[in-house]
């Protein structure tokens, strides 16, 4: 997948949904989840995995699902059939705080060097590595901000670029949580 393709999809993403999936921390679980998506023809924009703080038996997979490729309910029900999936929470984009990390190495001549450093500063990112004619920069933030930053970086010669895919938590408003457990109690 091309970097620009990834960026475009993140930027547009009109019909994406975020699933926060609690899974057993066992060998092969990621393969089962990823395999289900390809087997059933469900598209995903991104997928991020991390252990949970609460309990070492579990990991959390954050999946950004293309709900144009399949109804969200069908995706959730099929996911829930995986024996290692413990529970699934759904976050509508409007109800979620989303975050993502970008790392990019950019070729910089004498003039570009200060421009890129300035751009990173404007976005609140960091220069994390400096070479003779290259810089590696890092930016964390909302996916839309990352998209914008990535778009502007394209004015320079990007040697390598990686994004982590988004993670998300429910937005805090008057109620303490908007995360809706939609499956897991029965399955």
């Amino acid at each position: 997948m091309s970097v620009t393709g990834l960026s475009g999809r993140h930027g547009a993403a009109p019909r994406h949904h975020i699933l926060s999936v609690l899974v057993e921390n066992k060998a092969g679980v990621l393969s089962r989840v990823a395999g289900l998506f390809s087997r059933r023809g469900f598209n995903i924009y991104s997928l991020a995995v991390a252990p949970t703080d609460e309990d070492e038996r579990f990991s959390r997979i954050t999946i950004v699902v293309d709900v144009e490729s399949a109804p969200l309910e069908q995706v959730v029900q099929q996911l829930d059939k995986l024996i290692n999936v413990v529970s699934i929470s759904q976050l509508a984009p409007s109800e979620a705080i989303e975050g993502e990390l970008l790392l990019a190495t950019v070729a910089v001549g004498p003039t570009e060097r200060s421009q890129v450093i300035q751009l990173v500063g404007v976005f609140g990112g960091e220069v994390v590595n400096v070479g003779g004619d290259q810089l590696t920069v890092m930016l964390a933030g909302r996916p839309e901000k990352i998209d914008d930053f990535e778009g502007l970086l394209e004015n320079y010669e990007v040697i390598e670029l990686q994004r982590t895919g988004r993670v998300a938590l429910p937005k805090l408003e008057r109620q303490p949580t908007r995360s809706r457990p939609i499956a897991g109690a029965a399955g």
């Binding site: 899974v23 109804p71 290692n84 413990v86 529970s87 029965a186």
Partner: protein, 587 residues
Amino acid sequence: MQLTGAQALIKSLEMQGVEVMFGLPGGAILPVYDPIIDSSIRHILVRHEQGAGHMAEGYAMVTGRPGVAMVTSGPGATNIVTPLSNAYMDSTPLVVISGQVATQSIGTDAFQECDITGVTIGITKHNWLIKDVDDIPRVVAAAFHVATTGRPGPVLIDMPKDISNSPMEWYWPTSVEDLDLPGYHPVTDGDPAMVRAAAELVLAAERPVIYAGGGILKARAAAPLRELAERTGIPVVTTLMARGSFPDSHELCLGMPGMHGNYTAVTALQRSDLLIALGSRFDDRVTGKIDAFAPEAKVVHVDIDPAELGKVRRADVGIAGDCRLVLQELLGALEALGLPGGGEPVAGSPAEGRPPMGPWWDRLHEWQERFPLHYREPEGGAIKPEMVVETLRDASPVDSVVVAGVGQHQMWASQYWRFDYPYTWVNSGGAGTMGFAVPAAVGAKVGRPDRTVWAIDGDGCFQMTAQELVTATAEQIPIKVAILNNAYLGMVRQWQEMFYGERYSEVYLSPDLPDYVKWAEAMGCVGLRAESPEEVAPVIEKANGIDDRPVVIDFRTDAFEKVFPMVPAGASNDAIVVHPDQEGRPR
């Protein structure tokens, strides 16, 4: 008590009540074969691992108990991939144990290594690679629990050789909580509000049809299904996977719908205003073109797998639950609305104003009269395959188990047999696995030794797995096999005739290569042959009189016979093609 992993595995199977298993040993599974010598479990040595899997399926389908098969690593394991896929499609509970190379060799491309848990992720309900010998009893108990509860299905346990040889302290899990399945909570009973909504739709419908699927048999729900049909007077269609769940000879039974279903069953679904889908999954072979399927019908859909609700067709009332429990709830809800057992509505109740079923039945009866299943009586020498099935049916005990492979013979068996009892029909539905019949019949006979078991097979299918008749002879499992030998891959031939301008590509086999009688005799069976219609009944009578060894009959059938009716692939069910003899009649 200290045991080896291998001993613990066999003891765990014994604890699960396993009486029989099907398998074939090899290097990586060798340690587990040693304690089998001392076990109460009967092991049936197959000639090919695919046979072990299909035998386990046949056993499971007639008994309702999980089938168990054991194979070695690498090719042994990959040979059972087809049965796993077949069982996954047809929701058959199987527990397959595969040997694996020693844990320190995993990932090194060791001799007979194959990542079988990786291969089978998509075709098992779940699988386990055992990495700690202490996990064995827990994993075996979990495997049986997962295979048999919720929507049943196949599971696989991969046993590395060093784990089999390692010592462990025996224990046995005593509760579901001990199984370490935090994400597995299958649903059982239905939501009462939804059940009541379903009952209201049932009472409001003018042209309802009960669309019974394989889930009725899995849930052992034939009795409440019959009660629902009789109380409401609603017609029942039984899908290929549900044949026998409602008696074919019952006046409310319309038979099989689908691509080769009978005209009335297909058209009843099309014209219905309410489909009561019970343990059925709107398979493309039933619905035809989905956008044109039952366009006026509301849908009540009951399935134990919540993912089936709305997967293909939106349900007006979707109920996730076990068919037996939900049907009992539905009967209760109908009674509460004024329709008790006996079917007479209570005066003043909501059921009293229910539309009468008479006008709907008038239409159904008219279709039944106009478009019954039909084939042309033989002219001259050729045996009609439909006639073989009818003769077999009339000459065999009514509770005989019928097993089919995949193709024309399967459709004729389903159409022309009279299935009046549940668990008497064993076939490969979703996966369409050619070669299923012979091994599945062996497994069915092991599960029901009291029953006559007839495999109705095609010549193409028979050649794929016939070697399991050696197993049948050696293990004294006297199945009967009727080969409808038309010398072709007949269903493919039919499609080439109808849809490819009679351009026959790679479908001709040969009536006498191999010589099926000699082949049967070489495998220790009685081999018989019928070449003309007059020989059919006598040869069947002879076969039914043999019960000390397997029998194979080579029926030389009409190669040009096609299966009718037929809904062309991708077409609407309204485009159903009836037998050419019926075409001129008014529709």
